[in-house]
């Protein structure tokens, strides 16, 4: 019997958490927003989601096959990327563009830099910005809710350009009855998903909290309509701020792992989003803000190494 005993170094037990389970939790957390998007934008939205996910998974599989790497489709990270990209585009985007976008996210942004855990920006966001620049028209044409074909301006665009159009009510913004990308419209669905992630301890609240607070304070004080609570509420509920703050700015790989790094990352996202929305050419600015902060996150991490237990001072002089 004794010859079969395994010798190993400690520890001898292990958490049941795995990468796959974490990714599954993220998918579950994104489902409410996905369903709301499909409800308001119809089957077309469902098609976009399916094409994005399939293209992402297929790209990953093919790339790994061609480069003779270990197949990692089963870790579900490609599904998350595809789903996130779908939630970040309009339901009217031609399906081939969605497929190309997903492939770009997986092959160019993720795999070319070494695969899971090595990408330098969030793959879904990288692809979204690529699509936004490549096909600006298609990417900024949105469907009105519950009406498959009518195009409509997003609330942010209305506010930005001072268009003479009625804004949706705050309640509509909460449930998702407004035009926008598939996943960004329903604040309630996003909040439910985020609370699930917090309960499952998949993400920490630090980055989203700092992001939203920073953005809210700046917008309230220095926005286009300063000291206007209603304007602030619209700014917070629209333009993918919640989707970005909850699900994109909390991406493990492209954000700092240190406490202080996370706080600075969140503040940076808030400041950049405010600047882009207030002074930039785009009505929104969440994607670019997070992308830019992704780029500085290694630097943030490097300069925010936590003080070790033994270097925290507190030397006792008896």
């Amino acid at each position: 019997m004794e010859n079969n005993l395994i010798m190993s170094s400690s520890p001898h037990i292990h958490t049941s958490s795995t990468i796959t389970k974490i990714m599954l939790d993220v998918i579950i957390a994104l489902l409410p927003a996905t369903f709301v998007g499909v409800y308001f934008f119809g089957l077309r939205a469902a098609l976009v989601v399916i094409v994005a996910v399939m293209s992402a998974v297929l790209s990953e599989w093919v790339f790994e096959k061609v480069t003779k790497r270990k197949n990692t489709v089963s870790d579900l990270s490609a599904v998350v990327t595809g789903l996130l990209l779908a939630l970040n585009v309009s339901s009217l985007v031609p399906l081939w563009m969605v497929a190309v976008g997903s492939a770009f996210a997986i092959i160019i942004v993720k795999q070319m830099f070494g695969g899971l855990g090595k990408n330098f920006v969030n793959p879904a966001l990288g692809a979204r910005c690529f699509m936004l620049i490549a096909w600006t028209g298609a990417m900024t044409t949105f469907s009105a809710p519950l009406a498959d074909t009518v195009t409509s301006a997003t609330p942010l665009a209305i506010m930005k350009d001072g268009m003479d159009m009625a804004l949706p009510s705050v309640w509509d913004c909460m449930v998702g009855n407004m035009s926008g990308t598939i996943g960004e419209v329903s604040a309630i669905a996003l909040i439910i998903g985020f609370i699930y992630l917090l309960i499952r301890q998949v993400v920490s609240i630090k980055i989203p909290a700092m992001y939203i607070i920073t953005f809210a304070v700046l917008t309230f004080l220095f926005g286009k309509n300063p000291m206007n609570a209603e304007y602030l509420v619209y700014q917070l509920l629209t333009g993918g701020l919640l989707l970005g703050a909850f699900f994109m700015a909390t991406d493990y790989t492209t954000t700092p792992t240190t406490n202080l790094g996370m706080l600075i990352f969140g503040i940076g996202c808030g400041v950049l989003t405010f600047l882009i929305r207030r002074f930039g050419g785009y009505p929104e600015g969440v994607s670019f803000s997070i992308l830019l902060m992704n780029l500085v996150s290694p630097l943030l991490e490097r300069y925010t190494v936590p003080k070790s237990f033994g270097n925290r001072g507190g030397v006792y002089h008896g």
Binding site: L5, I6, P256, P306, G310, Y316, G318
Partner: protein, 442 residues
Amino acid sequence: MAATFKGGYHVDDHKSLTNAKPTQMLDGCDVHIFPLRQHIGAPLTPCVTVGDYVYVGQKLADSDQFVSAPVHSSVSGTVIDIKQHIHDSGTMIASVFVENDRKYEVYKGCVPHDYRNMSKENVLELIRDAGIVGMGGAGFPTHVKLQPNTKVTHVLINGAECEPYITSDHRYMLEEPEKIIYGLKVCMYVLGLSDGYIGVETNKQDGMESLKNSSEFNEHIHIVPLKKKYPQGAEKQLIKAITGRNVPAGKLPADAGCVVINATTAVMISELFKTGIPPVIKNVTVSGDAIKNPSNFKVRIGTPVKVLIDKAGGFVSEPQKIISGGPMMGITQYNIDYPVTKTTSSVLAMVKAPKTYDEDAPCIRCGRCVSHCPMHLMPYKIADCSKKGDVDTAKDYNALECIECGLCSYICPANKNLLQFIRMIKPDVMKKVRGEAQKNGK
């Protein structure tokens, strides 16, 4: 609110397997084996020879060095051999074999002492002579701890028992609480302190009650509830939780004005003064999913672990791992002939071999190792340095402060054995630091 430190994580503790089971006293077995290394410090030379008759509590080996601790017989009988034998560190250690005559006659030199009528020097000498060491597993000689170079303000009894499965200290709290407190009082006397603290994790509420209800309890004994969290019982984390002080990097608890004594050690000190007998019997938890009846035993030191496993009903099915100590920091064993020593607190047998690691899986930078590290290090960074052989950067990331609690490896969702990589680079970092210190010295 229970006291605690920043970081750490509550690991599923599996203590319900044994925490409600009263400790059973085991009979001695035919031959007891006493390894001559059950402590940290100078090696021992035997003071008995083959053929000698020894009594319970009689010294078998000693050293003339200060940092050392003698070994005593736990049975009466004849020394039949002195030879190399397997030890739970996995190596062969010179050991004294004593054939048990089952009379358990106590050595005549073992007489009770009242510490209050003794000088501090005599108390310390008695503790040294009894070979009392850190019974939680470290094995550092207690008399050395009790003579710190700096002024000490706190003496803490470590009753956290944060390692999963182990319940031996918990049973002491329930069954012999007065001994823990009496041992603490001896330490307070030696250190010249009026008050003493006992830290207990909140998963042992009944243990805390039992301590408070014991005859030795008074207003100078403070029972501090500690948050149920691993590694709450690590010395530096315990000090932080109870006193709020940080032990500086590379320093000892005494530098933070503290002395930490394990609960079992306190029981042994109490036994020494009340009965005169050095540590010869101790609580050992036998647990794990491969054990038929997980149990708490009172065992005479030197009993082969095989006997304990038999008394616990043997194996349910073939175990894949046998662990001496807890599952987080314990040492795997390749056979079960090794004897119970002063530092053995548990024997675990696991069927489903707890995790082999997967080095192919990518780090997804989830940051769990960083946010949970009780020493506030960045384990994944140090592991990276270790893979690259980058000693300088590992040093900058304070690799030497790692207490090897294993939490980073436990919590990693990518299933990477971060601790092993940190362990691999630590000696190189140490060499580097020493080299630099020498250079600066010149």
